[in-house]
């Protein structure tokens, strides 16, 4: 503006800065710009999950009375596979053996991948029932249930989950082994027991405010 005023002294009264015209120009640009920016928000927000999609993610009740020791069932909650395993006493014993926990990246569940009520050696409310989000923390594949020790996963394999995509391994509590691409343990979703054998996935026990979206890595 100042340059223009110098090069064209004839128009100085028009191009002088700080005039009423400048103010109107700037004000109109700013208001219009902010308005346009705000108008974009409905477009962006329309791409977020819709109300019915969110409603379909309401808590889910599962009756576990038919789940035999050693069995796993997979249920879908919020489009995510949830692994529910009834672990045998032998499998629970393996979870505590030091030659197994020594191979894990985060055997004490230090990383925020579970609610506080599952931050224990069995990563669950009741020791026998594991409830895990069955999505590999590496790149989102679904790990395979390989509960039998040994076999084609090597003699040292204690039983757990094997991800077919990039070879990540987890034990039967969803704890990740060291030296595999996955950085974190499998997440534990919020859940509670509404009766002795029925669990409700998606709802914390009274007194807990755990939010699955707050964890390190889903």
């Amino acid at each position: 503006m100042a340059d223009a005023a110098q090069s064209k002294p004839m128009d100085a009264h028009i191009h002088e800065s700080g005039t009423r015209r400048d103010f109107l120009q700037i004000a109109a640009t700013v208001v219009g710009g902010i308005g346009a920016a705000i108008a974009v928000w409905p477009l962006i927000d329309s791409m977020n999950a819709a109300k019915d999609t969110l409603a379909a993610g309401a808590p889910l009740d599962i009756d576990l009375s038919h789940l035999q020791p050693g069995q796993q069932i997979v249920v879908l909650w919020r489009s995510r596979p949830i692994f529910i395993v009834n672990r045998t006493p032998a499998e629970l014993k393996t979870l505590q053996e030091s030659q197994v926990t020594g191979l894990l990246r985060d055997s004490q569940s230090e990383a925020n991948q579970q609610p506080d009520y599952a931050k224990n050696w069995h990563r669950s409310i009741k020791p026998e029932f594991a409830v895990l989000v069955g999505i590999c923390t590496h790149l989102g594949c679904i790990p395979e249930f390989k509960p039998a020790p040994g076999g084609d996963l090597g003699a040292a394999w204690p039983g757990g989950y094997f991800c077919p995509c990039h070879g990540s391994r987890y034990d039967l509590a969803g704890r990740v082994f060291a030296g595999v691409p996955a950085p974190y343990n499998l997440p534990v979703p919020p859940y509670n027991f509404i009766s002795d054998s029925v669990i409700r996935i998606g709802e914390n026990p009274a007194g807990s405010a755990f939010n699955l979206n707050s964890i390190e890595q889903l």
Binding site: I44, M47, N48, A49, A50, T53, G57, V74, L76, R78, S79, R80, P81, H138, L139, G140, C141, I142, C163, P164, C165, H166, G167, P181, P183, N213, Q217, L218
Partner: protein, 425 residues
């Protein structure tokens, strides 16, 4: 030559041209547009890319008339196109393999620009617009691959959208926004379809800018020296239209051979299995044209305080992003590698490097593949960030020819030959 109107005999043409100078424009950009007389066949690939864009858009629009973007119907609608729709198989195979051929053409075009220094002054913006086109093409191709809703569609979408979860703080929010739900699902498929339809039109827009920038200074040429006068150039039409048509014929034969005889050669058989969110395929591999980037994504280990996953994502985008800076990273003022004795060979190292990355991207990151993948990723960045400026400083280029015409009319005495070629014209 510069005046208004046209030389056409037709009164109607002159009437229109006076009001809408479309004929003047075409004459100016085709007949009068001076093109270096020494362009080789590597210069065919720009127009081939334009033709591929048209083929993709035309086949795509007709496929869209038959396709259903819903998770429960998408896979079957593609199978219906293949089995029941008249010539549906042809449209789909042209479109599916067209993506591959589009990338072949664009990659050759890009490497041609690298070899002959087409990104250098005054063509920096021309080059950068090209990189933008490449990015748009990659996004379009990725979203198009999701539409058939096969196993690889679904899992590629899952893996690639999950990349954004590596972003600090906003990662999970961004991923949820991309999905429009709790995972890749129907909302994701719908928006990918919408964007897959939109992006090609954006590409057309950027191609328009690319051509405006091209015609401002004209094509570079294998010698990398500027045109100095009319003796150095020939009109684009008919000389290069004919040459482009010949190249197109050869190219279309190759395209047709794949479409008609090996239509699934470049595809993944897993994508003929309907998407199943509860069953990961044994190996998630992208289409071949993304393999080098995929290798970069998977090879990168933890870098200082940056976790491997985020570092991989940053390097993936950096691999394309670095191309924007080439005009300033290359410190040599000589364009063509013909006159750059060191650069000439280093160029081929890059080609080998990218092929090696492609091979690594096709295999699990284990054993030798992870070592080669890491070294090749490292070299990729060293090539552009270190070797480009350093070679420019240290290298002693060969003497440049005095002019294009002097170099192409290889008679004993350069200046005389140039003069005689002027007489011929």
């Amino acid at each position: 030559m510069t005046g208004p109107g046209t030389q056409s005999q037709s009164k109607l043409v002159r009437w229109i041209d006076y009001r809408l100078p479309i004929f003047t424009f075409m004459r100016h950009e085709l007949n009068e547009y001076p093109t270096p007389r020494n362009l080789n066949y590597w210069w065919n690939f720009g127009s081939l890319a334009g033709i591929m864009l048209v083929i993709m858009m035309v086949t795509g629009i007709f496929l869209a008339m038959q396709y259903t973007p819903n998770v429960s119907d998408a896979f079957d609608s593609v199978e219906r196109i293949m089995r029941d729709v008249n010539f549906g198989w042809l449209l789909r195979y042209l479109h599916m393999n067209g993506a591959s051929f589009f990338f072949i053409v664009v990659y050759v075009h890009l490497f041609r620009g690298l070899y002959y220094g087409s990104y250098k002054e005054p063509r920096e913006l021309l080059w950068m617009l090209g990189v933008i086109i490449l990015l748009l093409m990659m996004a379009t191709a990725f979203m198009g691959y999701v539409l058939p809703w096969g196993q690889m569609s679904f899992w590629a979408a899952t893996v690639i959208t999950n990349l954004f979860s590596a972003l600090p703080v906003v990662g999970p929010k961004v991923v949820g926004w991309l999905w429009g739900g709790f995972a890749v699902g129907n909302p994701t498929l719908n928006r990918f379809y919408s964007l897959h339809y939109l992006l090609p039109f954006l590409i057309v827009g950027v191609v328009g800018l690319h051509l405006i920038a091209l015609h401002q200074h004209g094509s570079n040429n294998p010698l990398g020296i500027d045109r100095k006068g009319p003796q150095d150039s020939i009109p684009f039409h008919p000389y290069y239209t004919v040459k482009d048509m010949f190249g197109l014929g050869v190219f279309l034969i190759a395209y047709a051979v794949v479409v008609f005889y090996f239509p699934n050669l470049l595809g993944d058989t897993q994508n003929y299995v309907p998407a199943n969110p509860l069953q990961t395929p044994p190996e998630i591999v992208p289409e071949w044209y993304f393999l080098p980037y995929y290798a970069i994504l998977r090879s990168v280990p933890d870098i200082l305080f940056i976790p491997a996953k985020l570092a991989g994502v940053l390097c993936l985008f950096g691999a394309i992003g670095v191309l924007f800076f080439l005009p300033w990273l290359d410190t040599s003022r000589v364009r063509s590698a013909r006159f750059r004795p060191v650069f000439k060979w280093v160029f081929w190292l890059l080609v080998i490097d990218v092929v090696a990355l492609g091979v690594c991207g096709a295999h699990r990151p284990e054993g030798l593949y992870i070592i080669v993948g890491r070294l090749a990723t490292l070299y990729y960045f060293i090539h552009f960030i270190v070797l480009f400026p350093v070679i420019g400083w240290l290298e002693r280029p060969l003497p440049l020819p005095t002019s294009i015409s002097a170099a192409v009319t290889k008679t004993s005495s350069g200046p005389l030959a140039a003069a005689s070629s002027v007489e011929k014209r």
